[in-house]
């Protein structure tokens, strides 16, 4: 730990710097596709970072986290559909709606444990999925095309791909910093203690429910932000954004990258989406390769990629 320039620190610095420099590389090579791919990776990494806050640090195994991607995305999409394009309206609404949903879902599901918690969070997400799929005014099953990206003041222009990439990256880095502060704060210690031994937390005097619920809402808001970005990225929202397989993808990113490591989900998101991109070019059944890989991580590298890089798990 005193050896601050460990393999892990180095890998993290290289990763963070590489993501900053990526558009420069794209400029030189003209590989615009890479920019689009990595914008998507960064947006979903933000969602995975938010899931990791409750799953990795709080031990709350939410199987419906993608619901906030959908809520954030649809807040932007529906407002745009009604002719409201201002990002100063769309984004706060996206965050507030995500917070509200997380508050309701958390208030009910956090009273349960284990398998029941997994099932309830899954059930809420599927409910939202079917409700949205039934909204004919907003495209129902087919989804909703967004004709204009969120508008901010000059010179911010989300339609400029490089600019949009940097906005997403800045928000990802800010979120990572925020999560890092949170998990090491007093609040974070309560969350980690609850993951480790909730009975004991209550016995020494912590009313754990309110802390876990607050944490659940923070994670929902961050994921809602990711949803708002995703809607702007694809210029399209559809119920599939919150389908349960998407929630599964987020869990895979967290597990691959390393649960309970602040930066881990970024590694996980890059790995999963780059694998998906390259392997699906080789075979339609690319998940046949992903499956065994996940097994290996779960069986032999509990700390995920970040664990392999030598993260000392003090938390």
């Amino acid at each position: 730990m005193s050896d601050w320039l460990s393999a892990r620190t180095l890998a993290v610095i290289v990763l963070l710097a590489a993501l900053v420099l990526l558009p420069v590389y794209v400029e030189f090579t003209g590989n615009r596709f890479l920019l689009t791919l990595f914008t998507r990776i960064i947006i979903l990494a933000l969602a995975a970072v938010s899931l990791n806050l409750i799953l990795g640090f709080g031990g709350m195994m939410s199987f419906g986290h993608a619901v906030y991607l959908g809520i954030g995305g649809y807040s932007v999409g529906m407002l745009a559909h009604e002719g409201i394009y201002s990002g100063f309206v769309q984004w706060p609404v996206a965050l507030a709606m995500s917070a509200l949903f997380a508050l309701v879902i958390g208030a009910l599901s956090l009273r349960t444990r284990g398998v029941y918690f997994i099932m309830i969070t899954l059930a809420f997400a599927q409910m939202a999925y079917y409700v949205v799929a039934g909204l004919a005014r907003y495209g129902g099953d087919d989804g909703l095309t967004i004709y204009k990206r969120s508008q901010f003041f000059e010179p911010i222009n989300l339609s400029n791909k490089t600019q949009f990439y940097y906005i997403c990256l800045a928000l990802l880095y800010a979120s990572i910093y925020l999560v890092w502060r949170i998990v090491n704060s007093r609040f974070g210690m309560v969350i980690q203690g609850s993951r480790s031994n909730e009975t004991r937390m209550r016995a020494i005097g912590f009313p754990t429910f309110r802390y876990k619920l607050t944490c659940f809402v923070i994670a929902g808001i961050l994921c809602g932000l990711s949803g708002a970005l995703l809607a702007n990225h694809t210029d399209f929202v559809s119920p599939a954004m919150m389908y349960w397989t998407r929630s599964g993808d987020l869990i895979i990113m967290v597990v691959l990258g390393g649960m309970g490591s602040v930066i881990g989900p970024v590694f996980g998101a890059i790995m999963l989406l780059v694998l998906e991109e390259t392997l699906s070019g080789i075979t339609e059944y690319w998940q046949i390769i992903l499956g065994p890989l996940l097994l290996l991580v779960v069986l032999f590298a509990r700390g995920g990629i970040d664990g392999l890089l030598g993260k000392v798990r003090h938390a």
Binding site: R181, S185, M189, S196
Partner: protein, 252 residues
């Protein structure tokens, strides 16, 4: 001395089994009161009701003049009633110091602080370190709790109970599973603690009980069959028949 804990006519049954049967105990401030009894006498059930983990069917529990019968665990803990677990219940994946610091934090107001690094707050770390020092775990503070031995887990339990600055400790078999040396160390530690704290001690180790207790209550099938000074308990024929004789026979 004023009474710190008053238990009146406590009763708890699980189906047909009577775990606590019309039980009354009064513990004055500063006393170490031991509760002994054969397996299944309802000792752990008693502690669970005192700490708030179980709700009694009837009866009343008063602590420091407050009726706590209906209070949940965190509220009792906030009043100064701390419990250590029979089966050690720690935060195994956190460091030894983190374990104790959490116990300090539990009594340092609410924890809705999202920004400052809790591992650098002297207000949490210093009392935690001093509690670790008192139980002799100072040098182990940076290890994960899972790396400690069984005896050290007990010491850590005690440090956590101390860190909450309790007025009264509920100790559920702190010697269980300890070797002779570790037991002796624990007895010495409890002797120090009883100078400052009121303690209710549930323990099977009779040598430790008679060495430490100011008063002893004997439970059989959830019912108090005797209560008094150690000498009185030792010479009580009923207790001998029910319990001590059998124990000593086993020990001999």
């Amino acid at each position: 001395m004023p009474d710190l804990l008053q238990v009146e006519n406590l009763a708890k049954r699980f189906g047909g089994i009577v775990a606590t049967d019309d039980l009354s105990i009064v513990i004055p401030e500063g006393q170490l009161h031991a509760v002994i009894g054969p397996n299944g006498a309802g000792k752990t059930t008693l502690i669970a009701q005192l700490s708030g983990q179980l709700t009694p069917d009837s009866g009343r529990i008063q602590f420091a003049g407050t009726d706590i019968t209906a209070l949940p665990m965190p509220a009792r803990s906030a009043l100064g009633l701390a419990r250590s677990f029979q089966i050690t219940s720690l935060f195994l994946d956190l460091s030894v110091l983190d374990n104790v610091a959490l116990a300090v934090q539990a009594h340092a107001g609410h924890s809705f602080h999202f920004w400052r690094d809790a591992r650098r707050e002297a207000e949490l770390r210093d009392p935690a370190r001093s509690a670790l020092e008192r139980v002799g775990l100072k040098l182990r503070e940076n290890l994960p709790a899972s790396a400690l031995s069984h005896g050290e887990h007990r010491q850590l339990e005690l440090a956590m109970a101390l860190a909450s600055k309790p007025r009264m400790l509920l100790l559920d078999e702190p010697m269980a599973g300890l070797g002779p040396e570790e037991s002796a160390r624990m007895v010495a530690m409890l002797r120090e603690l009883k100078k400052e704290l009121t303690i209710l001690l549930v323990e099977h180790d009779m040598e430790a009980v008679f060495a430490l207790a100011d008063r002893i209550t004997v439970l059989v099938y959830g019912r108090v069959i005797a209560s008094g000074k150690p000498e009185e308990i030792r010479s009580n024929a009923q207790v001998r028949d029910a319990y001590l004789g059998e124990q000593e026979a086993v020990h001999a």
